[in-house]
Structure formats: structure tokens, C-alpha cells
């Protein structure tokens, strides 16, 4: 397959994912309302935490709220139901038609997932971050930093899409992907640093977390919302780029493994 062909499929699939998500106005509104509820609740929780315990890490309560504002934005932009859609395609047998095509299925799914993610990011980023600014009551990291956070959030989308693709595909081997999704979700919550910056974690857990792809999905974009040196942001960006390349490679391998499993008649 020509690289240009793959890119054309990726772009078209992303365009359709974007168009489809932009049409789901109620879903977008619901996401914003839920985001608001989460931010209002957790900002109150953060304010209840004493400042002295986090001041040692050079952080304020407003920093924590900004951090969480970005992590939650990434999470709300992720079309997590995509893994269930894919699982359904496998169980219903539609996968047979999707696999016998000149372009690998993973490219189509990657484009679709990223398109949906970017559509939500496009719509939700301004209202959600404005709301975060209101509930944080200060500590705005600056326009440049926020642009960096959104760019890194966009970079996290192929990682999240690839994970969801592989989670859905796993039902070929384990019949039901939901238990694996549950584990993945907990890892994303814990190792991705959804609520607290990884800097606050015990050293051993922090080191372990950075050795996994999860911080590249959530913590890396949110890192731009915290005060800190540029070198740290550059390291987080490199970490993200490394994992994007690695996971896309694994995604392509998983796509081929799916076809081999179906051809072997070995699906669970």
C-alpha cells in the first residue's frame, strides 16, 4: 500500500469522525455540563486540602485545578465507547467485511477516533478551560502554555484511539473486552495522573508510571498547566512522541494479528 493512500484514508476517516461528532450537539452539551460538575466538585475538594502539604512541591490549589482542568478535558474528548462499538463489530461478524479491504482497518479506526477526539476538543476546549479559569480563581498558566496543553492533548488522541482499538480487538481472544477495559481505565486513572500531578506520587510509583504509556495520554498535556521548567515540558513531549510511535506500531501489529486469528478460525 502506498503511504499516500494510507494518509488519504486516515484524513477522510478523520473528516467523517469530526463531522459526525460535530453533529452530536446534545452529547457535546452533556459532556460540558458533566465536566462542569466534576470541576466544581473537585475544586471544592482541592480547596479543602491544606496548602502546606502541596506548597513543598511548588504547587498551589489553583495549579491543581488547572492541572485537573486539562486532564478532565482530555478524558471528556476521548470517545471511550469506540471500544464497545468495535467489540460489537467483532461479535456481529461485520469485522469480516471490514478486514477484507485494501487498506488496513487500523488506519480507518485511527482516523475515525482522532477525528472524533479533535471535534470534541475543538468545541469543548474554550468553554471548559474558561470554566476552569473561573473555578480556579487565578493561576492562569498563560496563552502559550494553554496552546501547548491543547497541542499535546491532540497528540494524546492517537494514543487513546490506539488503546481503544486494541481493547476492542482483544475480544477476539478473550470473548469480552470489558474486564480488560476496566483494568485499562484504572491504570489510566492511577498511572496517567488523572486527579493529581505525578510529582505528588511516591517516587517508586512515579518512576513506574513514567515507564508506561499512560502519562503520555493524560499527564503530559496537563503538565503544561503547572508551573515548571521548559526542560520538563520538552521531556514530557518526547515521552509522548515516543509512545505515539510505539503504540501505532503495536496497533498495526494488532490489526495484522486480528486478520491472522480470524483466518485461523481461532477467535474466542
Amino acid at each position: 500500500m502506498r503511504p499516500g493512500h494510507g494518509i488519504a484514508v486516515l484524513a477522510e476517516s478523520a473528516r467523517l469522525g469530526l463531522k459526525h461528532t460535530l453533529g452530536e450537539r446534545l452529547l457535546l452539551l452533556g459532556s460540558f455540563l458533566l465536566y462542569g460538575a466534576v470541576m466544581l466538585t473537585y475544586s471544592a475538594v482541592f480547596r479543602a486540602v491544606g496548602t502546606s502539604s502541596i506548597a513543598g512541591f511548588g504547587l498551589s490549589q489553583a495549579n491543581l485545578i488547572w492541572y485537573m482542568g486539562v486532564t478532565e478535558l482530555v478524558l471528556f474528548c476521548t470517545p471511550t465507547f469506540q471500544f464497545r462499538e468495535f467489540q460489537h463489530e467483532i461479535h456481529s461478524g461485520d469485522i469480516d467485511l471490514l478486514l477484507v479491504r485494501p487498506c488496513p482497518l487500523w488506519i480507518v479506526k485511527l482516523g475515525d477516533g482522532t477525528g472524533r477526539f479533535w471535534a470534541r476538543l475543538l468545541v469543548l476546549s474554550v468553554p471548559c478551560l474558561t470554566l476552569t479559569g473561573i473555578v480556579a480563581g487565578g493561576g492562569f498558566p498563560g496563552i502559550g502554555r494553554m496552546a501547548g496543553a491543547l497541542l499535546c492533548a491532540g497528540l494524546a488522541s492517537p494514543l487513546l484511539t490506539a488503546s481503544l482499538f486494541m481493547l476492542g480487538a482483544s475480544c477476539l481472544w478473550v470473548r469480552h473486552a470489558d474486564p480488560i477495559y476496566w483494568i485499562w481505565h484504572k491504570c489510566l486513572f492511577l498511572l496517567g495522573g488523572l486527579l493529581w500531578p505525578l510529582a505528588l506520587y511516591p517516587a517508586a510509583v512515579r518512576h513506574f508510571a513514567w515507564a508506561t504509556p499512560f502519562p503520555a495520554m493524560i499527564a503530559a498535556p496537563a503538565q503544561w498547566g503547572l508551573p515548571g521548567g521548559e526542560w520538563w515540558l520538552a521531556a514530557a513531549l518526547l515521552h509522548q512522541l515516543f509512545w505515539v510511535a510505539a503504540i501505532l506500531l503495536v496497533m498495526a501489529k494488532a490489526g495484522n494479528a486480528m486478520l491472522r486469528t480470524i483466518q485461523g478460525g481461532d477467535a474466542a
Partner: protein, 329 residues
């Protein structure tokens, strides 16, 4: 002489299944034991370009397994096959450019997207030139009557409409070979007839090779010109539809409406298919007894109000073949 576009030689496929263990101490060690099922065995045939072939057999005969091997979705355990000069399970993506698939109850379309968007994406997937794609889409829309359906999301279509759109999706890249697995399953009589007409038009217009599996013998009679009969994974018969009907034309169905309430009839070479109030349906084996004799006999015995003579429907022919061919086993 036309070239063979599909070649299958001694194709075979086994499946490993699990069978529950009988209750007892062995059940503590293993809940099930493996056993092998032969789905297809020693299946050989060739199909020339432009042919319209029906693959028929009862449930579990191995029709779909064979079709899945030919389109690259299943690796055989023995034998070889080539479709358009490619080994399907080794060159699946290259082959995809040359084949179209329509599997009943499965869809090419993205449920939430308008059909046109699904087609746009498929055009990119099949790397079609924009001009060629638009021309083909317009042609298919005209053949299948899709103009009003293109703007609708696939999930809002009826089954018949969706099948037509799926057929269009399978043909966007103008494949020389079309695999149809139970394409009319779940469709009502009108939608079935419409789809068969469309398929005939398509085969005529694009000279597409069609390999069809269906339980509906009407599909076969209206679309195909050749029949391959299989059972338990083995080929029973490979003949033209015309020959099949001619060979089995010795069987005639005689429908009688009588004045008498309970007409009864018995004679060698004659089978009573239906016996009801003022009604009698007989199958006559014309090799065993002359049809004229049976008619004369009936006219003598009953006061006949109406009489109709029919050739045997394909469904009956197929049943008959299975009955006779499988008798020694």
C-alpha cells in the same frame, strides 16, 4: 475459451471444537475435550470469468466456509485456491481490490453516517479516482435506485434498502468477482425480487462473476446459470442449472381439484405429496409411469374439476438429489 477466475483444488478445512466432558471425575480435570470437525473436504472446482454460480447445500454443508476461504477470511487446512490469480489467505488485501462481498445481515456501512459518507470513505479505501468514483456511484444509484437513500444514515434504512446500499458499496470499486452469502436473508418477497432483478442487471452490465450461496432456490433460479451442490463439505454435483432441471424434469407435479371430498390415489411411480378436501397433489416419475396414463387414470376415478401439470420446482429437485445421493450412506 474464457479463463478461470476462481480455482479451488482439493480444498479442505477442519475446525477444532470443544465438547463438554461427561459428568464424573474427568470433569474435575477438564470441562471439555477437543475434537476435530471436517467442514470442507477435497473440494475442487473452477469458475470462469462472467459465470454466475450457485453454491447450495443444507445447513452445515460447508458453503460459507468455502466462501470465506475464497475471499481470504479463512485459511484452509489442505488444498489450494486462487481468485483472480491470487491466493486469498496470503494476499488478502491485494485480493480485496478485485472482489466484492455481500454477506446477508452484515454491513459495509457506518450506521450513524449517511450512506454517501460511507461511500466516500470506501472510495478512499479502494483508492478510486474521484471522477471514476462519482461516475460509478451515479451508475449504481441508477441501477439500485439509491438516489433518495444516499443522504440517509444507514441505521434509518429498512433491511431491503440497506441491502441495496450494501450491494452498491460492494461494487463501488467495480470488482470482477462478487461473493454473495445469503444476500436475500430476512428480505420480504418484493425486496427479494427487486434485489434479484438488480443482480441480473449488474451481471449483464458489468460482466461480474457471481458466486452465490443461498437457501432460497428462487435466488438461484433467477440469478445463476450453474449449480454446485455440496453436503458435509464434499461436492455432490456440479452442473448447469438447465441440465439440472432437464435431468430432473422426469418428475412432474400433478395438481387436481376434484368433486369428491377425499380423493385417494396409489400407483407405482406416483407419490402423493398432498391430500386434502377436494384436492390431490401427486409427483409422477415419468420414467416409471407415463404421465398420460396417470392423468387418464385420475380422470376415470374422480370427477376432476381442474387439473394442472407442473415441472418440479428446484427446491424439490435439490431435495431429491440429496435423498438419492446420500441413500447409500
Amino acid at each position: 475459451m474464457p479463463e478461470n477466475i476462481i480455482v479451488a483444488e482439493r480444498l479442505g478445512r477442519d475446525f477444532t471444537m470443544r465438547r463438554p466432558v461427561k459428568p464424573g471425575w474427568r470433569g474435575w480435570l477438564a470441562k471439555s475435550v477437543k475434537h476435530t470437525v471436517e467442514a470442507v473436504a477435497e473440494l475442487s472446482f473452477t469458475i470462469e470469468a462472467g459465470a454466475k454460480v450457485a453454491f447450495i447445500g443444507p445447513n452445515g454443508a460447508g458453503k460459507s466456509t468455502t466462501l470465506r476461504m475464497l475471499c481470504g477470511l479463512l485459511r484452509p487446512t489442505s488444498g489450494m485456491a486462487q481468485v483472480c490469480g491470487l491466493v486469498p489467505w496470503k494476499e488478502t488485501r491485494r485480493l480485496a481490490q478485485s472482489i466484492g462481498l455481500v454477506f446477508g445481515q452484515r454491513s459495509h456501512l457506518w450506521p450513524s453516517l449517511p450512506v454517501r459518507d460511507s461511500y466516500d470513505l470506501l472510495a478512499k479505501i479502494y483508492d478510486l479516482e474521484p471522477e471514476a468514483y462519482r461516475a460509478q456511484r451515479a451508475r449504481l444509484a441508477a441501477v439500485f435506485g439509491l438516489d433518495e437513500l444516499l443522504a440517509q444514515p444507514a441505521r434509518t434504512l429498512s433491511l431491503g434498502q440497506r441491502t441495496r446500499c450494501d450491494l452498491g458499496a460492494a461494487l463501488l470499486h467495480q470488482p470482477p468477482v462478487l461473493f454473495l452469502d445469503e444476500p436475500t436473508i430476512g428480505l420480504d418477497v418484493v425486496a427479494k425480487a427487486l434485489l434479484r432483478d438488480h443482480l441480473n442487471l449488474l451481471a449483464h452490465e458489468f460482466n461480474t462473476t457471481i458466486l452465490l450461496t443461498s437457501h432460497d432456490t428462487d435466488d438461484i433460479e433467477r440469478i445463476c446459470d450453474r449449480v454446485i451442490l455440496i453436503d458435509r463439505g464434499r461436492k455432490l454435483l456440479d452442473t448447469s442449472l438447465g441440465e439440472l432441471q432437464r435431468d430432473y424434469n422426469r418428475f412432474k407435479t400433478l395438481r387436481l381439484a376434484t368433486a369428491g371430498e377425499a380423493p385417494a390415489y396409489a400407483r407405482g411411480g406416483v407419490t402423493v405429496v398432498e391430500q386434502g378436501l377436494h384436492r390431490l397433489v401427486l409427483t409422477v416419475d415419468t420414467c416409471a409411469v407415463a404421465l398420460e396414463q396417470v392423468i387418464a387414470d385420475c380422470l376415470g376415478r374422480f370427477s376432476v374439476q381442474d387439473i394442472a401439470i407442473e415441472g418440479m420446482p428446484l427446491e424439490e429437485i435439490v431435495k431429491n438429489i440429496y435423498a438419492t445421493r446420500l441413500e447409500p450412506q
